[in-house]
Amino acid sequence: MADLLEVRDLKIGAHAYEEDGSRREIEIVKGISFDLEKGRVLGLIGESGAGKSTIGLAALAYGRGGVTITGGQVRLDGEDILALSPRGIGRVRGARVCYVAQSAAAAFNPAHKLGDQVIEGTLRHGIMSKSEARARAAELFGILGLPDPETFGNRYPHQVSGGQLQRAMTAMALCPRPDLIVFDEPTTALDVTTQIDVLAAIKRAIEETGTAALYITHDLAVVAQVADDIMVLRHGETVEYGPTRQIIEAPEEGYTRALVDVRTTSKPAATDQSGALLRLEGISASYGSGPQVLTDVSLHVPRGQTLAIVGESGSGKSTLARVITGLLPQSAGTVTFDGETLPPRLAQRSKDQLRQIQLIYQMADTAVNPRHTVAQIIGRPLRFYHGMRGKARRERVQELLDQIEMGQGFADRYPAELSGGQKQRVAIARALAAGPELILCDEPTSALDPLVAEGILSLLMRLQKETGVSYVFITHDIAIVRAIADSVAVMLNGRLQRFGPRDEALSPPFDDYTDLLLKSVPEMKEGWLEEALSSRRIASGGQ
């Protein structure tokens, strides 16, 4: 059988700008080749910068933001689409090849109804009449498991959830009956419990419509559920290319193995969990006069240990961190730190109380001032809390840089000259510089690539060993919790669902929500998705 998509020696270049403003050509995809048959799914996997999205867009003969396709061929049904005229490409895009983006919320126009947007491309290409397209959309909404398929299209983007929006976007891509769909990280921005539904919907839709797909993601466990073949990419080159089973069960290359067994950090949970450094009692909070975001949360963190707080977006876990820091005064309850009750408001706390609790943010990009050098960023708490100046401060900054494994040559750089992982390390060093007793980590690794995130985690663990600092680690990633936590708190809708030592909290008997949460975490094996879904149906009484 002839291949639907043949990519031969694809080369893609981009412009890079040197510090002095001169332009330089760099190659970001260095000769990639693969074939895709009708009805098959190829997973493209790699870290950010591996070129996976760029390759996906090249299947639409598109180069994003200054990126140009410099060589090779992309043949769709034997026709080289790179050689087509702009009009010819226009006939291919959105008709024969469709695209599903990572952020559906940003991809839909909030001022138009979903139904009209879903069929827009199909109508534009004149593939179907309006009534046919509407019927097709309703059918697809049904296949994708959206509620009320007939009337779902009458809603506006803000009236549906993120997971539903992502499915609506998949419907948009499937509507013109394309030969090929490019999925660009379609579930990355979703919660785990939502991700599993969307993943299942996408898989069913691909099977029922018989379309081929390129599935781009950085999560090997996710791609293992939908892809027939997997291509592992790094720095624009193919590392390994083979059937899914072989890649996850018997990877040949070292890099692929690293991706498969990414979680290497682990530590036994501390046994003695008495003696609290931080204790929250009956905390409730709300933003302004809005609905209550936290209801009666009580927990504690022993000195030198790690408490992991897990939950989905909107569960109130970040709000809890804001209460602890004093950014959001609680409406009820007390925060006790090291035996003394902390005033609710930031302004009422003493400088020393502020020093003892530091916060690390999820987005290192926005957490460090882009106009300050690394030395200024790390040096400020030293000056502010410890009155260090001049040479002493300079030396301490270097010591801290050594401690976060960055070494010489970084002190005078600006954040823009650092990678994402390095920025997060600088943010950690800034927190350390204060000499804190407790560091609140608000999803510090979720914006990072798996291997980089792993480096940050092991750094945090090492620092805990060296300095005896305690962590409150906010995350939605159960795997991280298993690896580093001493105790675990599960949050749902602002309430504490479960709290206790790790091994106790993460073993049965579970409450319903913890069970659902644990079962939704993708595992790196084929057929996990079906197993998880069927066990879920049994649990919920076969509905």
Binding site: D20, L354, Y361, P370, A434
Partner: protein
């Protein structure tokens, strides 16, 4: 910063600004005739005697252009700098403290903006004694309403960033947050606005002079010179176009340099678009 990385357009802009400043600083040395000296007939054409011709009273146009640079540059620059100082300080305080301070300052600003600038200036300048510093102050305060608008919008955007929150958590005071955390990040749009406002200040000054409330004759300023010679246009005398061209050229030069500065700051130190 390496000299080679400066694009030619920025060089042209800087040369233009430098020329204006040199003219202003060394006016008595450079000018072939005196500022108020009547040296020829009315509206003489350009020639070896008077390079740019003479004006409506027979004064040397080139000399007046050079002397005019003094007043025009000084007043416009002083007014712009002052308006930025006032506008930035107040707008950043409003953006950082929010609440009632923000409401008070913002509504006061709206009130000021709702009165047409020119009428406001006319009333105030007519009532107050005609002194240069009063003129500058009035121009600056009127202009600062625009700076406030922009400054507040930019600062509100930056004030919600995590690094500002981190500074608050550290216990930093408002002054540090405004000048060390927010200002460096707000510099790009504010610089661009500065170029624009400077050009407007030159024009506003000439409007005021035209109405008799700006620079008082016989002292030369570019806007006033346009006014003095504007009647000549009817008779085909281009004398008014020369100071007019000088205003335009200065505005263009300032904007070219600001554009380049903007690009440089945003691309090198990791502005939001770099």
């Amino acid at each position: 910063m390496r000299l080679r990385s400066i694009p030619p357009s920025a060089w042209i802009g800087m040369a233009g600004i430098a020329l204006a400043f040199v003219a202003a600083l060394f006016a008595p040395v450079l000018a072939p005739y005196g500022e108020r000296e009547i040296v020829g007939a009315v509206w003489e054409p350009m020639g070896p005697e008077h390079w740019l011709g003479t004006d409506n009273l027979g004064r040397d146009l080139l000399s007046r252009l050079i002397f005019g640079a003094q007043t025009t540059l000084f007043v416009a620059l002083a007014a712009s700098i002052l308006s930025f100082a006032i506008g930035i300080c107040l707008s950043f305080v409003a953006a950082v403290t929010r609440g009632i301070v923000d409401q008070g300052l913002s509504r006061l600003n709206d009130l000021m903006m709702s009165i047409p600038t020119l009428i406001f200036a006319l009333v105030v300048l007519a009532a107050l004694p005609q002194k240069l510093w009063i003129l500058i102050l009035v121009m600056a305060i009127l202009d600062s309403t625009r700076v406030f608008r922009l400054g507040r919008a930019v600062a509100v955007d930056i004030a919600v960033m995590d690094f500002v929150e981190a500074a608050r958590l550290r216990g930093e005071g408002t002054i540090w947050i405004i000048f060390r955390e927010i200002l460096p990040n707000a510099l790009s749009p504010l610089l661009a606005e500065f170029g624009l406002r400077f050009a407007f200040a030159v024009l506003f000054l000439s409007t005021l002079s035209f109405l008799g409330l700006g620079i008082q004759p016989p002292q030369a300023d570019w806007g006033g010179m346009v006014k003095d010679n504007s009647d000549g246009i009817i008779f085909g005398v281009p004398a008014a176009l020369i100071p007019g061209g000088a205003i335009a050229a200065l505005a263009v030069c300032v904007n070219i340099v600001v554009d380049w500065l903007l690009h440089r700051t945003s691309s090198l130190k990791g502005g939001r678009d770099g």
